[in-house]
Amino acid sequence: MNLNRTSAIVIRHLYLVSGSPARLLPLFAWVAIDMVLWGFITKYLNAVSSAKFDFVPVFLGAVLLWDFFTRVMHGVTMAFMEDVWSRNFLNIFATPLSISEYVGGLVLSSIATSAVGLVVMIVLASTIFGLSFLAYGMALVPFLLVLFLFGIALGILGAATVLRFGPASEWFIWPIPALVSPFAGVFYPVATLPRWMQYICRVLPPSYVFENVRAIVAGAAVSPSGLGISVVLAIVYVVGACWIFVRVYRHSVRTGLIARYSAETVT
């Protein structure tokens, strides 16, 4: 793997983001709005609730972590979509750049852009609404790791979907986090869900993260086995997504889709 070539993809994305307010603003604007909205909702719930239950670390913390996952996923797909929108596939894939270098560049671009959103969310949630990450303890590290890996996996899967089904299929991939969220138990315990939904929860790494977030807030211990399962699952998703992307890329090279991408000759 040639780091120069990978860095070219990152630099390309940084050029695009830094030179365009339309790309720069969404990095932090939507997550900031989410923080403010959910910050006040949790404050209100704390005020009207008779129980001595703090909604801030449960709801606001959950929204922050979920937004982080969403930003990571969208970070990968956005970097990929830039090549779709600028019809750049032929220029990019007719170079010595390998698929691992290209995907590596997408992931690094996503780290850079999602880090901006994460910092903005942490600053807003802690300074305005008093959300303290110290409450999560060291478990915060695997929480972020699992959500990061799962975001990367779905981002790569989204890119593979667009590569396979053509530019118009981008509308399949933007709502993926919203589609996953009911099963991930972001705002409620998994036990709340009907049995069939709980089966799906078990194979989604974020569900273990949010179960543990609620356990910590309730004063219970973190489940090391749950976190372990979620890390392993997230790694499996990343490996699986990379495998699918490579398969789709090879199919595109075999059928000529890369060279005539905008033609949408998919059957």
């Binding site: 040639n2 120069n4 070539r5 860095s7 070219a8 630099i11 390309r12 050029y15 695009l16 030179g19 365009s20 830039e82 929108w85 600028s86 019809r87 750049n88 596939f89 032929l90 220029n91 990019i92 894939f93 007719a94 170079t95 010595p96 750049l97 390998s98 090879r250 090279v253 075999r254 059928t255 000529g256 890369i258 060279a259």
Partner: protein, 240 residues
Amino acid sequence: MTNVLAVERLGKKYGEMVAVQNVSFHVARNEIVGLLGPNGAGKTTTINMILGVLEPTSGSILIEGVDVAQQRSKALEYTNFAAVYAPLPGNLSVYQNLRVFGLIYGVAGLQKRIDALLEQFELERFRDTKAGVLSSGEQTRLCLAKAMLNDPHLLLLDEPTASLDPATAHEIRAKIRRMASHGACGVLWTSHNMYEVEDVCDRVLFLSRGKIMLEGDPKTLPQAHGKETLEELFIAVARE
């Protein structure tokens, strides 16, 4: 002269449809080879296979002796291309485009190389201009500058002067001829402009229905087949 490109029994089928059939040819160092043929003859398909963006159904492609199918990245390090249908991203500036592709091609002394190419292709005043707002001729010059970034041993040009005015096209042809004669480069050039082909190419290949029909010196080939000009010969081959 050694070969920078060796294509052997190359074929491409889409299901039952044959796009390229049993095509063999080579491009030697310091040689400009014209790949000619009517629309749909298989020229772009052949170029796409050489560039590694389309997998051949059969045959082999060696660039500087490196098999594209086996060592794609290494083979493509020796290659670059410019095509009228592959403009560079319009949302990056001229400089940004050259920097990004320079990094991908691993160009040593990239800054100096970019400055030299900006001067060579008269793009200095557009250095910080977004590629998307350049005129089509300026975009073509940018694509050609990108194609020269890594001093390619094999340069693939698909109708490189299609959107240039005659004066600029003349200059570009002269630049490419100089590059081919002085460096280590061989050029595969497609064009529908037969006067240009006759002027630039050392050898031409006529491709029709995915097969090479004729091959030879563009200056003597028409007479050898009882035609006055290369254009007449082109029309005759295309109608066969």
